[in-house]
């Protein structure tokens, strides 16, 4: 049984870490970009960003004044039990979000869409979003009695788009919409690039958006899709995005995409829906695994897209084998 006070205190620490500490994989990617950049304005911008991450850590202040929209992904091992159940867990995550908004401090971004009501704590109707995933035990001898708490503070009113493409649009159509999204939101740096670009392909409309968002926020720089042909596309699309000639803030440059991650889901046979997402220069994510015995392990890789999350079959084969 995982205690609820443990969940809340861990969640508060995660809010703090996400807002202040740039994840190492993204930092490595941006340092590499700064090394290869030759546009003088773009170069200046990247160096300023690298200084900014240092300043944030030194001062323990948020790296960006725009908190984005703090949200939660909860992945539960199949054997996990939470004190008070999931209602208590959701309350704990909402309390942690509100407490960190005042504590770090973060900007209270969340308002009612019509009445602009602001509770000054980033909590409201549907906010923060809490999404769930489940994970089987690694084998028949272990219990998956942990939960992973992942917070993402995704920025960006810009840099995200959706389009219903069709099989006849093909790979060239996918490339074109990808370029369109980078061009449209890269100009003037509206997308806060260079970014981790996530592409969602397939699913229904809403899942297409979800896949792309998770591809940008829940996969680290340097990770590759387990489908080797999709992994090749990821390499190719990273190159393509960086060949536009546009860099940070839309200035002339060669670094627009720190990495490109693609996730797919099965879609309607007549369509090929596609979404593009940019996880900005402040790629804020933090992860903790809370074990049933109270141990907490912090990390920055959500490790969301396991073989189980990408399964294609009716039954989950490894478990079936283990049961035989």
């Amino acid at each position: 049984m995982i205690s609820i006070s443990h969940i809340q205190s861990t969640a508060e620490t995660l809010m703090d870490k996400a807002a202040i500490e740039i994840p190492q994989d993204y930092l490595d990617g941006l340092q590499e970009a700064a090394r290869t950049e030759d546009g003088d304005l773009s170069c200046f911008v990247l160096k300023a960003m690298l200084e900014n991450y240092e300043a944030a850590k030194e001062d323990r202040r948020a790296m960006c004044g725009d908190t984005g929209v703090p949200r939660w992904f909860v992945k539960m091992g199949n054997d996990a039990q939470v004190e008070g159940g999931m209602i208590a867990l959701e309350a704990a995550l909402r309390r942690a979000t509100a407490a960190a908004t005042n504590g770090v401090p973060l900007r209270p971004n969340r308002v009612h869409p019509l009445w602009r009501t602001d509770h000054n704590n980033n909590v409201g109707i549907g906010a923060p979003e809490i999404e769930y995933g489940f994970e089987p035990a690694a084998n028949a001898y272990e219990k998956a009695d942990w939960i992973d708490l992942i917070t993402v503070h995704k920025g960006g009113l810009f840099g995200t788009d959706y389009r219903m493409l069709f099989p006849s649009d093909g790979l060239q159509g996918i490339k074109r919409f990808y370029l369109d999204s980078l061009m449209a939101f890269g100009k003037r740096g509206l997308a806060c690039q260079p970014a981790i670009i996530g592409i969602g392909l397939g699913g229904s409309k809403d899942i297409c958006m979800t896949l792309g968002k998770r591809a940008s926020t829940l996969r680290v720089v340097g990770s590759r899709n387990s489908d080797p042909r999709i992994a090749e596309m990821e390499d190719e699309f990273k190159e393509l995005g960086n060949s536009i000639g546009m860099g940070a803030m839309g200035f002339v440059g060669k670094n627009m995409v720190i990495d490109c991650n693609i996730e797919v889901g099965y879609c309607h046979t007549g369509g090929m829906p596609m979404s593009v997402h940019a996880f900005c220069l402040s790629s804020r994510r933090a992860v903790a695994r809370i074990h049933a015995d109270g141990r907490v392990e912090y990390r920055t890789d959500p490790d969301w897209f396991t073989p189980y999350q990408r399964r294609e079959t009716v039954e989950w084969e490894p478990l079936q084998e283990a049961a035989e």
């Binding site: 389009r163 649009d169 370029l179 839309g250």
Partner: protein, 219 residues
């Protein structure tokens, strides 16, 4: 790149001297004003609670990550700008009313905006860098002098008065010719667009009103 220290109540000469791409650090009082403040001051005709431009001629399109403590003091964390093009509707009247000479924000405005009302008002646009040098800019805030209209507008939309000391970096994104740094960069990048798009064709299902000109902008 040139580095310049600039007052938030700058002289006309200091502004005329700025060139596109200069790096600027600000000293003096700067206030935040975005849609909430503009609507309250210009549409609801509320009295602006500052002496403008005597106290400050620098309007920051920003809301900080900050906290008002129970004792009324402030804790300033990170400071980052928000995209400015959305405020074009109010800016001409705001400038006329407040004498703002420095509009500080994200992404700049169009050269048409600059020529129509920035240049006639002797104003230029300074862009934040990144975007998201929130911690660096936060370090440049020496003190929060006041927060106006917090009750009416909430923390994010309130009018924050920041005392800046070598606050920056900012980049000069417009000049007294009304030229636009971002449009200049767009034009350079546009030369390469046809090559990047080679082999692709428009999507089979059009979007209503869609343009096929990749040199267009979305703002």
């Amino acid at each position: 790149m040139r580095e310049i220290r600039l007052s938030t109540t700058p002289t006309a000469e200091a502004i005329a001297d700025l060139r596109l791409g200069d790096v600027v650090y600000l000293d003096g009082l700067m206030y935040t004003a975005r849609e909430g403040v503009y609507m309250r001051a210009l549409e609801d005709r509320a009295n602006i609670p500052m002496e403008l431009p005597a106290q400050s001629a620098a309007n920051f399109h920003c809301s900080p990550a900050a906290r008002i403590n129970p004792d009324g003091s402030f804790d300033m964390g990170a400071v980052t700008a928000t995209a400015s093009f959305r405020f074009a509707k109010w800016l001409p009247e705001w400038m006329a009313k407040t004498g703002a000479k420095l509009i500080v924000g994200k992404g700049g405005m169009t050269s048409k905006d600059y020529k129509d009302y920035f240049v006639p008002n002797g104003a230029v646009y300074l862009s934040t860098v990144g975007y998201g040098t929130g911690a660096l800019l936060g370090r440049g805030v020496e003190n929060v002098e006041a927060v106006h209209w917090n009750e009416e507008l909430g923390l994010a939309q309130a009018m924050w008065v920041l005392k800046c000391k070598k606050m920056g970096p900012f980049i000069v994104a417009s000049d007294m010719n009304g030229d636009c740094l971002f449009e200049r960069e767009n034009a350079k990048i546009a030369e390469n667009v046809a090559r990047v798009y080679e082999g692709t064709k428009p999507a089979v299902l059009k979007r209503y009103g869609e343009s096929d000109d990749r040199t267009d902008e979305v703002i």
